[in-house]
C-alpha cells in the first residue's frame, strides 16, 4: 500500500473562500493509500514548505498530492521540496484547485468548490499511485557553438561566446560577414557611422582565436540534439585559396567583367571576382561562377595571371564538412520586401523611386556616390525627396500585417542625412503614425522635424508617377484634410522588413517553428524570447521579427549567455518527460518514427550473437525527445508510452472520474 500525503492549500483566502479545505483534507484521508492529510494557509510559504518536508519525513510518505494553485505556478517548488525531503520529485503531483476551481466557481456556500476540489484531488491521488520514479536525463555537451548568419547579432553572439572561452563557427552565406548593417550609412539615434562601429567587431571576430569564419557557406543538414548537434555545412567554392590570398585586390582591379552588385542593391556594378564591399571580412575575393568566362567557357583567366601568390584556383569545388556543436544560434536576419509588391509607388518602374536601404547606400561614404545624394536616373542632386513610410508594412492586403518597427526611425534619419548633405533640399514624409519609442528616439524624430525641416504629412500616398523628369506624388494630408501633390525629384520607400526567403527551409532543417510571416517562433514570446522549441537552438536578431540594432545586439549577447550556460558543465540535465519503447511489444511498423515531430525516434537493429539482424525496434533518443506524446497515440500496440503522462496515469485519472 502506498503512503500518500495530501496537502490542501488555503492560499490565504484565495482557495478557502470557496472551498472547505479542511473537509477536503478529511475526506482525502479516507481514501485507500492516503496516510496523511492536512489543510494549510500558505503551502508555498517558507513555514509551509518546512511543514511539508517535516510531514513527509514524519509520516514516511512516498507520494505527495498538493491541492493548490496551478502546477504552472508551484509544481517545481513542491517537487524540489519533496526532493529535499528525500523523495523522488516525480512522486509529487499538483491538483489545480485555485485557477481551475476556487477562482472560477464563486459559490459562497463552498458546496460547488469543495465537491470539485474533492474530485480533482481524488483524480490526482489515483494518478499519483501510477507514478514511477523518474530521474533527470543527463546528456554530454559539446562545448562548441554554431552561429548561422554573420550579421551584427551573429557577430555579437560569436564574440561573447568566444570571450567565454568556447569555440564558435560563424556560417555566412555571403562572401563577407557584416550582414545588413554593413550597408547602413549612419545609425540612429546617435548618428555614428555604421561601418565605424561595425568594422572593428567584424575584424575582432576574424582575429579571435576561438572564432572560425565559414563565409560563402550554407547549412545542409542538422542531426542530433541539444549538446550534440552534427551539422553538415556546404562551403561553396570561392575559387580563391584562402590560405594564400593576401587580399591585395590586383585580381578585381584587373578583372574585365562586371555584374550587378548585390551589396549595392543594383545602384552600381561589381567585378566578377569581387569582395562585396571594401571593408569585407575576410578580405578575400570570390569568383562569381555564374558570370566568369574562364569557368563558363575557359576564356580569360586574367585574375590568375595577375595574382602574385597564385591563389586563384578554377578547379576548386564545393566542400561538404560535418562538424559537431552543442548549441546552434540562428541569426539569419531579414530581407526587404521585393520590388514587385509596390506597383502603386512606381518602385521598379520609376528609376528615381528607391528603397530606404538604397538610400542608405547613397548616403554612405563608401557607397556608389561616395556619400553624395544623387538621383539614380541622371545623377543630379535631388532638391526635394518624398519619403513614404509603411511601404508594405501594416497593410495586410498588399503587404504584411505587422509594423516593421525601424522605418519611422530610419526615415527620420534619412531626412536629416539629406538636409545635412543637401542644405536646400526639402524632405517630405508621408506617415501613418510615428513610432519612436526608445531611448532618445522621440527626441531624434523631433530633431528631424524641428532642426532639419522635414515636412511630415500624415496620410497615405495614393499615386506616384513620372512627369517631366519629376516624380509626382499624390496623397492625402489627413491632418489638414486636403489632397496634396508634390513634385519631387526622388521618392524613398520605407519598405517592409520580411523574413528571409530561405527561412522555411532552414526552419525545417533545424526543426523550429515559424509564424505566418515566416519569422521564427520563440519558445515563449515574453519569457523565453531567444529560445526555440528545439532545445539547444537559439534565435538572435531579426530572423524572429523586425528589430533595430541595439535589440539585435542585446539578443546576440542573450543567446551567448544561453550558450555559455549550456556549456558551463560537461553534462546537462533534462526533464525526463520522454517517450519510452517497450521492446517486447514493438512491431517495428515505424508509425512512431514517421509521426515524431522531432525525428527523435530511430530504427534500431537487434542482432544476435553472430551479428545477424533478428528484428528491428523503435528507439527513442532522449536528447531529442520533447515529450509531446504523438508517438504514443500512433502506436497501435501501445508499445510506446510517455514518462510523466503514461497510459496508466491517464487511465487512473479517467477511472476516478
Amino acid at each position: 500500500m502506498p503512503r500518500i500525503g495530501v496537502f490542501v492549500c488555503q492560499c490565504g483566502n484565495n482557495i478557502e473562500s470557496t472551498v472547505d479545505t479542511q473537509k477536503v483534507a478529511d475526506e482525502a484521508k479516507e481514501l485507500p493509500g492516503v496516510v496523511y492529510s492536512c489543510s494549510y494557509k500558505f503551502m508555498c510559504s517558507s513555514p509551509g514548505q518546512e511543514m511539508f518536508k517535516q510531514a513527509i519525513k514524519e509520516n514516511k510518505l512516498d507520494g505527495i498530492v498538493v491541492s493548490a494553485c496551478s502546477p504552472h505556478m508551484h509544481e517545481k517548488t513542491f517537487r524540489r521540496a519533496s526532493e529535499a525531503a528525500g523523495l523522488n520529485p516525480f512522486q509529487c503531483e499538483i491538483a489545480n484547485i485555485r485557477e481551475q476551481c476556487s477562482w472560477v466557481h464563486h459559490d459562497p456556500t463552498k458546496k460547488v468548490g469543495t465537491a470539485k476540489t474533492m474530485d480533482l484531488t481524488r483524480m490526482t491521488i489515483q494518478r499519483l499511485k501510477k507514478n514511477r520514479d523518474l530521474t533527470k536525463i543527463t546528456i554530454p555537451v559539446t562545448k562548441r557553438a554554431l552561429v548561422i548568419g554573420g550579421g551584427i547579432a551573429g557577430i555579437q553572439a560569436a564574440l561573447d561566446i568566444a570571450d567565454g572561452g568556447h569555440e564558435v563557427v560563424i556560417v555566412e552565406k555571403e562572401p563577407s560577414i557584416g550582414g545588413n548593417m554593413a550597408r547602413l550609412s549612419e545609425t540612429f539615434p546617435t548618428m555614428d557611422c555604421s561601418q565605424c562601429i561595425l568594422t572593428p567587431k567584424m575584424v575582432e571576430a576574424e582575429l579571435h582565436d576561438k572564432i572560425s569564419l565559414y563565409t560563402y557557406s550554407e547549412i545542409e543538414k542538422v542531426d542530433g540534439y541539444i549538446g550534440n548537434f552534427k551539422v553538415t555545412i556546404k562551403r561553396k567554392a570561392k575559387f580563391v585559396d584562402e590560405s594564400t590570398c593576401t587580399g591585395c585586390g590586383e585580381c578585381w582591379e584587373k578583372c574585365p567583367f562586371k555584374a550587378e552588385s548585390e551589396f549595392e542593391l543594383g545602384l552600381s556594378k561589381r567585378k566578377v571576382i569581387y569582395t562585396p564591399f571594401p571593408q569585407a571580412v575576410p578580405n578575400i575575393p570570390v569568383i562569381d561562377k555564374t558570370k566568369c568566362p574562364k569557368i563558363l567557357k575557359d576564356k580569360c583567366g586574367l585574375c590568375a595571371k595577375v595574382c602574385g601568390p597564385q591563389s586563384i584556383d578554377f578547379t576548386q569545388e564545393d566542400q561538404i564538412v560535418t562538424e559537431e556543436f552543442g548549441a546552434i544560434i540562428v541569426a539569419t536576419g531579414y530581407d526587404l520586401m521585393p520590388k514587385t509588391r509596390f506597383g502603386e509607388y512606381g518602385y521598379g518602374k520609376i528609376t528615381d523611386v528607391i528603397s530606404g536601404m538604397q538610400f542608405e547606400r547613397l548616403a554612405s561614404a563608401s557607397g556608389p556616390t561616395g556619400g553624395a545624394i544623387r538621383r539614380p536616373s541622371d545623377n543630379t542632386e535631388p532638391k526635394s525627396i518624398v519619403f513614404i513610410q509603411c511601404a508594405g508594412s501594416r497593410d495586410e492586403k498588399r503587404g504584411v500585417s505587422y509594423c516593421s518597427k525601424i522605418c519611422c526611425m530610419y526615415t527620420a534619419k534619412h531626412t536629416m542625412l539629406y538636409r545635412h548633405k543637401v542644405h536646400d533640399g526639402q524632405a517630405y514624409v508621408f506617415y501613418m503614425d510615428i513610432r519612436s519609442g526608445g531611448k532618445r528616439y522621440e527626441e531624434f524624430v523631433r530633431g528631424a522635424i524641428e532642426n532639419d525641416g522635414a515636412m511630415y504629412l500624415r496620410g497615405r500616398v495614393s499615386r506616384v508617377y513620372e512627369k517631366d523628369g519629376k516624380v509626382i506624388v499624390q496623397g492625402a494630408d489627413t491632418l489638414s484634410g486636403s489632397q496634396v501633390e508634390i513634385e519631387a525629384d526622388m521618392v524613398v520607400l520605407a519598405t517592409a522588413l520580411v523574413s528571409r526567403s530561405s527561412a522555411t527551409t532552414l526552419a525545417q532543417t533545424l526543426g523550429i517553428g515559424y509564424d505566418k510571416d515566416k519569422f521564427y517562433n520563440e519558445y515563449h514570446p515574453k519569457l523565453k524570447p531567444v529560445e526555440t522549441v528545439t532545445a539547444g537552438v537559439f534565435l538572435a536578431g531579426t530572423c524572429a521579427g523586425p528589430m533595430d540594432i541595439p535589440e539585435s545586439v542585446s539578443q546576440g549577447s542573450a543567446v551567448a549567455s544561453k550558450a555559455l550556460a549550456l556549456f558551463s558543465s560537461d553534462k546537462m540535465a533534462r526533464e525526463p518527460i520522454t517517450a519510452i519503447v517497450n521492446t517486447k511489444t514493438c512491431n517495428a511498423c515505424w508509425d512512431c518514427v514517421n509521426s515524431c515531430p522531432y525525428v527523435a525516434i530511430t530504427k534500431e537493429e537487434v542482432k544476435d550473437r553472430r551479428g545477424n539482424v533478428v528484428r528491428m525496434l523503435a528507439k527513442v533518443n532522449d536528447g531529442l525527445c520533447q515529450g509531446c506524446g504523438v508517438c504514443v497515440c500512433a502506436c497501435r500496440s501501445k508499445a510506446v508510452d510517455l514518462n510523466g503522462y503514461t497510459d496508466e496515469q491517464v487511465y487512473a485519472a479517467i477511472a476516478t472520474f
Binding site: N587, N594, K638, Y651
Partner: protein
C-alpha cells in the same frame, strides 16, 4: 481455371526446385474437395495440391506477418495472391512488416470469388460475390513478381456500388439513436473470438491493445461495453490502412457487418485526406502524417 492452375503449379514447382523460395503459400482442397483451405507447399512434388478457383476467398497475406513464426522459419515464401490480397501486402511493406524482396508474389488475375465458400453451389454468380469484387480495380494484380492468368478487362464502376455502400448511406441517414441501436444489436453479439483480428493481415501486432492490461484499455469481457470499445478501436486502428479485403466480416462467426465500419472509414480517409490504401508501398499511411490545411468543420 484449369489452365491457370496448371501455370500456377508449374511456376510453384520451378520456384521450389530452383530454391528461389522455400515455401509456396497457396490454396488447396480439403479432404472432401468441397472447400478450399490454405496450404504450405515445400516439396516440388506436391505442387499439384495447389488450386485456384472461386472458393479461394482467404487473404493469405496473414501468413507473411511476424505472428506466423513457424511459417517464417521455413524460409523465403512465395504467395499466391489476388489483387485484393496484394493490397494488404503493399501495406505490410509500407509499414516495415515485410520487405518487398523477401516475398515472391504470384499474382493471380481474378474474376471474383465467393463471399463465403458455403455460398458457392456450382458456378460463381455475381449475387454471391462480395462487394469488393464488383468494384475491383486490381483484377490484374498490381504488385507482383509474376502474373498467372489471362488479362482481365473488367472495369470497375466509376462510383463504388453495392450492398455495403448502400447500407452505409442508409445508416448515415438514420438518427443517432437508430444508428446506436443498429450497432449495438450487432456488437452485443460479439463473442470476442478475435477472428476479425486474426484474419486481418494488418492486425499484425504481436500484442494487441486488448492484450495490454496495464492498463486494460479494452475490457476483455464479451459484454456490450467491452464489445463496443473493441470494435471501435479496431476500426480506428485500421483507419487509413484497411484495404476492404473483407476478411474480418467473412470470418466473424456471429455475422457482425464489419465491412460497414471499415468501409465507412475508408471513405472518410479518401474524402478527407485523399488517400486509398494498398496501392503504393512508398506512401506513408495517412493517419501518421498530416497537412497543415486538413479540412474539418467540427473543431470550434
Amino acid at each position: 481455371m484449369g489452365k491457370m492452375e496448371k501455370e500456377l503449379r508449374e511456376k510453384a514447382k520451378e520456384l521450389l526446385e530452383s530454391g528461389e523460395v522455400a515455401v509456396v503459400i497457396g490454396y488447396g482442397f480439403n479432404r472432401r474437395k468441397t472447400r478450399v483451405t490454405p496450404v504450405f507447399i515445400t516439396d516440388p512434388a506436391e505442387t499439384d495440391k495447389l488450386v485456384f478457383n472461386a472458393l479461394c476467398v482467404n487473404n493469405l497475406s496473414i501468413y507473411l506477418t511476424r505472428k506466423y513464426k513457424d511459417v517464417q522459419r521455413i524460409g523465403r515464401p512465395a504467395i499466391v495472391a489476388k489483387g485484393c490480397d496484394i493490397k494488404n501486402i503493399v501495406v505490410l511493406i509500407t509499414e516495415g512488416q515485410v520487405k518487398r524482396e523477401d516475398v515472391y508474389i504470384i499474382g493471380m488475375t481474378c474474376e471474383g470469388v465467393a463471399y463465403k465458400q458455403e455460398l458457392l453451389k456450382e458456378k460463381l454468380v455475381p449475387e454471391i460475390m462480395p462487394v469488393k469484387c464488383h468494384n475491383c480495380d486490381v483484377r490484374n494484380p498490381h504488385v507482383t513478381d509474376t502474373v498467372i492468368g489471362e488479362k482481365s478487362d473488367f472495369t470497375p464502376p466509376e462510383e463504388p456500388t453495392g450492398m455495403v455502400f448502400d447500407k452505409i448511406k442508409q445508416i448515415e441517414s438514420m438518427t443517432a439513436t437508430e444508428r446506436w441501436d443498429f450497432w449495438n444489436e450487432h456488437f452485443t453479439r460479439c463473442i470476442k473470438c478475435y477472428a476479425c483480428r486474426q484474419l486481418c493481415s494488418l492486425c499484425y501486432c504481436e500484442q494487441c491493445i486488448t492484450e495490454k492490461n496495464m492498463p486494460q484499455w479494452i475490457e476483455t469481457s464479451a459484454h456490450p461495453r467491452g464489445n463496443l470499445a473493441w470494435n471501435l478501436i479496431r476500426a480506428m486502428h485500421l483507419a487509413g490502412r484497411c484495404t476492404f479485403c473483407g476478411e474480418c466480416e467473412r470470418g466473424c462467426p456471429v455475422n457482425i457487418p464489419l465491412n460497414l465500419v471499415n468501409q465507412k472509414l475508408v471513405l472518410t480517409v479518401k474524402n478527407a485526406f485523399d488517400f486509398e490504401s494498398g496501392y503504393d508501398e512508398n506512401v506513408h499511411p495517412p493517419m501518421i502524417v498530416f497537412k497543415e490545411d486538413d479540412k474539418e468543420s467540427f473543431i470550434k
